[in-house]
């Protein structure tokens, strides 16, 4: 299989879906002429023209509304909210409007919208630019939220999002931007709502998503040398969560660690833990552990960011603590 960088996989997914369906469009800040603030939309404007590929003003509410409204009137738009923090500005149009159109119209309206947004954690982007705020949208019925961890996954999940008839938020880690990996062809579409075991293991299930998967795999590799076999379960989709996948893995390992870059309270770790506490309590041989950012905004300095986000050592310590 061909190898691509993460951003190239995004770019290829959009090129393919634009070519496949005339109704696919892209709007966002710097999305058109500059080819994206981080190059992900390179070549789209030249190839598909200025009607379908467009720079927008810095108006996150209108960008989201543009996407929802266009989707209600026959397009299959992609819109960009540059950083996930700015979902705060778009939330009414996404959660209050877009998520409810199909429901309110009793099925007569559809909102086949894709919202691409980046997470800038790990780049010294500071307190207002590096948030992990998937909870805001994952809590909302009518929306779906995916968070790919590899070039192959971002291609497959972004294509799935574009083809989905519902509003799907796709979160892209800037820290993975130049990570390379094998990428499937035109038909490579990954089912939304299904997790993937990225590494199998019998001792502890480590649930994670996005850029955390790399840290989890690193931890699993190092722990393996100590004789501890960690199963790394990449959720891929944050909403709806893959209950079966989570429960099946816990049924194999009987121990559960969940790791994310968001703050602990009300993060997806809570939801995963609650699902297991409801449905598989007796499977557990140890308390559930969450490894997350602390209850604080993020500082900009490298040492502050390092101390803030869970690292490989934190994951290893959490896993070990369950086997104590």
């Amino acid at each position: 299989m061909k190898e691509l960088k993460f951003w190239q996989a995004i770019n290829e997914a959009m090129h393919e879906e634009f070519a496949r369906d005339d109704c696919v469009t892209l709007s966002g800040i710097d999305a058109g002429t500059p080819g994206g603030a981080f190059s992900a939309s390179r070549g789209l404007l030249e190839r598909f023209g200025p009607l379908r590929v467009r720079d927008t003003p810095i108006s996150e509410a209108a960008i989201a509304g543009l996407g929802v409204g266009a989707a209600m009137n026959g397009l299959r738009p992609i819109v960009e909210i540059m950083f996930m923090d700015f979902l705060s500005l778009a939330l009414e149009q996404l959660a209050g409007q877009g998520a409810k159109q199909h429901f309110m119209s009793t099925g007569r309206l559809r909102v086949p919208l894709t919202v691409r947004t980046m997470c800038a954690a790990g780049r010294n982007a500071g307190p207002q630019h590096a948030g992990s705020l998937e909870t805001w949208v994952a809590h909302i019925p009518g929306l779906k939220v995916v968070w790919p961890s590899t070039p192959g996954d971002v291609k497959g999940l972004l294509k799935a999002a574009i083809r989905d008839d519902n509003p799907v938020i796709v979160i892209e880690n800037l820290s993975l931007w130049t990570a390379k990996g094998p990428v499937g062809g035109e038909d490579h579409v990954i089912e939304i709502g299904k997790s993937e075991v990225k590494r199998a293991g019998r001792d502890v299930t480590l649930v994670c998503v996005g850029s955390m998967v790399q840290r989890a795999l690193a931890a699993a590799g190092e722990l393996s040398a100590e004789g501890i076999e960690v199963e790394v379960l990449d959720l891929r989709t944050v909403s709806p969560l893959d209950r079966e996948g989570i429960l099946a893995s816990v049924a194999r390992t009987h121990r559960l660690v969940i790791a994310h870059d968001a703050a602990k309270p009300f993060g997806f770790g809570a939801e995963v833990a609650a699902i297991v506490a409801e449905e598989a309590l007796t499977e557990l041989d140890a308390p559930i552990r969450r490894v997350t950012a602390p209850w604080a905004p993020l500082g900009t300095a490298p040492a502050q960011e390092l101390a803030y986000y869970p690292g490989t050592e934190d994951l290893k310590a959490a896993v070990r603590s369950l086997l104590g």
Partner: protein, 329 residues
Amino acid sequence: MNIGHNAAPTREQLTSLYRTMLLIRRFEEQAVRLVNEQKMPGSTHTCIGQEAIAAGICGALRQGDQVLTTHRPHGHFIAMGVDLKALTAELMLKQTGINRGRCGSMHLVDPDHGILGANGVVGGGVPLAVGAAYAAQVRGSGQVIVTFFGDGASSQGGCHEAMNLASLWKLPVIFVCENNGYAEMTPSTAHISVSNIALRAPGYGMAGVHVDGNDILAISEVAAEAVRRARAGEGPTLIDCETLRMRGHFEGDPERYRPEGQKSEWQARDPIARLAAVLSKRFDVPADELEAIDRAATGAVADAARLADADPAATGRDILDFVYAGEAA
């Protein structure tokens, strides 16, 4: 019906507008009664006194055009030709309502009649309208999109963002402000910093018009020109329609905030009476023809209510349907 830019409106055109306005008026009067009889739960916002705006603007549209409206949507729905019975049934939260009782008055939506939705969120529909207009532009569908919003809604950030974007991209959208003097209990002078919202149009490089919202002739002319511009790719128009909400914000509002004499002063500007006068004086429409239109309107809304009343209330059985498209309903 489309009153041409310069062409004087015909007797037929004006009679048709009169019919629409009366239908709205009688529908709303009946809604007031039904609310009082506790047959319409939730909050109901009527548009009595504002009928000319709905009739005039929607009257300038053609099949395929789309409208987004507000929490005060009945007039727009009627002007777009929705089924009166299904509309009434929805307001009565019946299983047979347009939206199966899910939406009630405030969240109504009927895409089959070109209405992409009322809105429970003030200003919520304005960015959506710009999106729908963008789709029209990309698809070359020739559609014009209208978004109604209140004076209160003009203070929403989303309206500003949407107007800037629509003007930049020359989208086929018309922004219609129903400037009816109040947002809930607060007079416009206390919540908007200009006397009419059309004064904001130059700040978006956009065409702006201020019009007497109780003058159907004026509105129709302004609407026709805005539709022409939109369809010709000349971009959006911002229309401020000066009017007065003649009833409470919602049915039950004690209206303590009204200055004395305000309503009777505006009674003299009643849009329906004014059009009746034009029809009889300028077009010699006989009084009994006007009365027949009124009787028909009264009958139509009463029939709708009688039928809707007999329908079963919405149940809790299907509340999980249509959460996601593409799933079994």
